[in-house]
Amino acid sequence: MATGVIEKAKNKKGAAEQVVDIKTGNEMAAIAASHVNFHVMGYYPITPSTQIPEETDRMKAEGEHDIVMIPGDGEHGAAGICFGAATAGVRVFNATAANGLLFSIEQLPVQSGCRYPMVLNIVARSVSGPLDIKCDHSDIMMALNTGWLIFMAKDPQRIYDFNICAVKWGELEDVRLPVMVTSDGFFTSHQLRRVEYFSTRDPVQDFIGKFKPGITAVDPNHPVTIGPYMNDPDLINNKKQQSMAMEAAYKHLPKIFEEYAKISGRKYELIETYKMDDAEVALFILNSPYDTVLQSVDNMRAEGKKVGAISLNIIRPFPADLIRQVFRNTKVLVVGDRQDSYGAWGGNMTHEIKSALKDDPENKTEVLSRIYGIGGKEFYVEDGIALLEEGLEVLKSGEVKKRYAYFGATETAKDYKPVQAFEPITEEEASPEIIRVELNPKTGVPEVKGVNMRALTKMPKRIVPGHGACPGCGIFPSIGNFLKGIKGHVVMLWHTGCGMVVTTGYPYTSFRTTYIHNLFQNGAATMSGLVEAYVERKRRGEIPGDEDLTFIMITGDGGHDIGIGPTIGAAMRNHKFIILEYDNEGYMNTGAQLSFTTPKCMITSTSHVGPAQAGKATFHKDTSQIMAACNIPYVFTAVESNFVDLVKKAAKAQWYAKHEGLVFGKILSVCPLSWRSDSRKGQEVIQAAVDSNFFPLYEIERGITKINYDPEKRNKKIPAIEWFKMMGRSRHMAKPAYAKITEEVQNEVDRRWARLKAMAESPVL
């Protein structure tokens, strides 16, 4: 693992042997985790924190640590896994970002209020919406009131060091609080820097000591009630204890830093300052831009300007006393806030600093709040200079013109002209009368006629060329062909995922019809509201009764891990719309982590193969059968390599969504990049999944199962291994070492196929 050079850290007395290497921030978090050797990591991948579980999993496959890796069903679930594990009396680890943090935030005060320490890395990213995957601090500032201790790590070295210190800090007898370690998404998480880390885990183990469980849920000799129903007058005392724990934590941290310096040679303070002794104007800035600002300060000092910079290594507890000290003589302070507390006239750090300074009656510092770097906007030396110059201007004029302002927002380019690439698609254009849906007079079941590949090239494209998907992507033929079977006006809602990201990069959209995005735990609920409100507006006469829209929600398989709850909710309410899942068997948008539909044994970036692990540990989820169990009118599976079948099912889906209620369809969709298959052979790869019975084509109409394509009857049946061998993610399954597990997968495929056949043969199954 260590590509670096092992050397006894030079000039560091008593320091343990360390490796000099270059690593990213996320890699350093994972190395720290392996050195702590946490018992459990409960996680759910979200950019840009994903490499932390990926790296931790990779090391696990190599046998480098013993951490039990548990993929959550979403961040809320991951936080629950962590809480549960912590109550068992173990060390627990997790990493998340942005909406992942917000989705789990309900659980975070549970963790702190019940006083179970753990370590959570926050790889700071902008909170949606609109969706932005890059760095700002809008996520971490939401966590200020969760009762967690919060480190700010400005570089990869600090991520490693603070993760280790976090364990010791949170576990202290009079602290017992969970800890966040915050780094800047991409800027720190993905940047390779020269770093040092211990060559073995021993010094870390000696430093943190053996874990002393507090009260646990697994000690039958000492039964306890964890998390009682606690109203007034008691809860305030529980919270007073938390406040006392914060005070204790604040007192202990300098000692922990001192002890850590002894073994590492790296000494940290709670607060970072640069040339503040005689600074008249200072810039406060958290995390990654701080280093760049040091250069800004030097440039300005060279011109004789008395400027300085400060940053913090912790924001909870907030080092108010040190803030008061450092700004005693500062005339103007510019606070760079990488988020806004909308309507409060400044970001959170502005207010916390102002509040700290208010307690020093002598303090006369003018404080400017500047909202900068939102959504990953780059920060250059010149930006640091510009912010400090604003402070110098106030110093010179003695007047604060703008106490609160956005730095770096831009006006529209003078020559900008909106692009009108198309006219809206008309009802007539989208209804070319090629496909007919007729009710069978005997059975009352809709039947679809007239599906013709050539004639259907006439259907106007609701998604136009110009999206940024990978060459050979399966999403767009799958969805595009489905839409050929849908006539008239459509409104689509897409979950977060590859399909959404590559089509709607602002200010461009590939959608020629109306499109909505919502985060992928909630599309089905959003669509439910939209559909019912549309119906109600028609009922009230606000929308002409003869107008008609077909509503389609599109999700990846990942959206149906984290978002299966709202989808089942929509099924229970039986709203009239279509839910279509493109299933590429992984979280491809975030770099191919396992999803619950990933087949057993396959390689993903969170299910590595190695001496200690054999790819994904469990069988693939059968979402279609979950939805069938909801007894909705129509469920189907389809693939792009069977066009007629796919388009017929689309037309039928539209009929059922118009007349009876919710439709669920799943399309297996090739991902050449992450399946590591030949992009040219997409159809062949997908058809092999069907011919091996791994992905049978069938439909369930009003509870009656019908198999639409039987490879056995057509003499096309192949063993599953033939499909696995077509893809780099599963080629290893043909090796003798994996024979047993491959047989298990084959047996499971056979079992599910036999069950499906039995269902198709019986009207009651």
Binding site: L192, A413, V419, F422, G474, I475, P507, T509
Partner: protein
């Protein structure tokens, strides 16, 4: 500032800076990491390396940055804007991006091309005083069965004048030996060929082409006119994007005389590039007929070639296809 010992030149912040202009999938990210390892771990420099961030897919433009210094720490972690060396991994990028933006006077440009430095100078509009290195990385890549990054690392290493090829190869081995031991030697060989099979020329200082200043990417729409809530009202405006830079070197070519207008290419294409319209087919019948391929949006996956039941679509090397075919816009 003290004169650097290893680095041939440094900027005002004591750094030697490299920018790689590449396309997702060519391995610029790994190349950046290996070169940084060689310089930092192998040669005792300090520095950092990162790529342009985002949800970049295969085929989209990416930038890689490396910053080396002989100082104890690297402070600046923002993207490289005024590089000493720019490496262009794919020539088609120049169609869509100002790849030489910010290049320092007397800087170095490394280009993946089978052309000569003088020819490539006019294609990329390289200013006078620049040292140009041309390497036919595509040829080496095909012959050695490796990714584009291996010969490009060779060429970049040579062009820097300070990176030690043995150190770079050491980290190529470190990178691949565990997971892909079979690719170690081909990669080292491709690296050596990239290092050696170079055409170099120092361009005379003239005014033939201007240096382009660096401009940070700015959206054309600002807060004063952007529709509220981030809504995009210009439906389908992504159509104006030119994605031809996403192709890795291959394209489908349509031969009308062989076409039976079946529509199969239309159903497999992820990019909706086959263009159909009403017309008269090969049998004289009215109906939907194929009119050609929209090369502005085709990403060259060749699924259409694979499925075509006749020889109407063939996969070709883009560089060998006549310009008038590529520039035809089917209506």
């Amino acid at each position: 500032m003290a004169k650097p010992k290893i680095l041939p030149k440094v900027n005002e912040y004591d750094c030697y800076e490299i920018r790689m202009e590449s396309i997702g999938g060519l391995g610029a990210n790994v190349a950046g990491k290996i070169l940084a390892q060689a310089g930092i771990l192998g040669q005792g420099l300090n520095g950092l390396n990162f790529s342009s961030y985002g949800s970049e897919k295969q085929g989209t433009p990416v930038k890689g940055f490396i910053r080396f210094t002989e100082k104890e720490s690297v402070r600046i972690n923002s993207p490289v804007t005024q590089p000493h060396l720019i490496a262009v991994f794919h020539i088609s990028l120049a169609n869509v991006l100002p790849v030489l933006e910010g290049l320092k006077p007397e800087g170095t440009v490394v280009v993946n091309t089978n052309k000569t430095p003088d020819e490539i100078r006019d294609i990329l509009k390289i200013p006078g005083g620049i040292t140009v290195y041309c390497v036919d990385a595509i040829k080496i890549t095909v012959e050695e069965k490796v990714r584009m990054n291996a010969p490009m690392m060779g060429a970049i290493t040579k062009a820097t004048g300070f990176l030690d090829p043995e150190q770079v190869k050491k980290y190529i081995r470190e990178t691949f030996k565990k997971k892909y031991p079979q690719v170690v030697e081909p990669n080292c060989k491709a690296f050596d060929r990239g290092y050696k099979e170079l055409q170099m020329k120092v361009l005379a200082k003239d005014d033939k082409y201007d240096f382009i200043e660096y401009h940070p990417f700015m959206s054309p729409i600002g807060y004063d006119t952007a529709p509220m809530g981030g809504v995009i009202t210009d439906f389908g405006n992504a159509f104006i994007k030119d994605l031809s830079g996403s192709r890795a070197g291959y394209i489908p070519v349509w031969h009308e005389e062989e076409c039976i207008h079946c529509g199969q290419c239309d159903i497999v294409c992820p990019d909706y590039a086959p263009v159909f319209g009403e017309g008269t087919d090969h049998k004289g019948k009215q109906g939907m007929v194929m009119r050609g391929i929209d090369y502005k949006h085709c990403k060259g996956c060749l699924k259409c070639v694979e499925i075509c039941p006749t020889d109407a679509l063939t996969g070709e090397i883009e560089a060998e296809v006549a310009e008038e075919i590529l520039s035809t816009v089917p209506k």
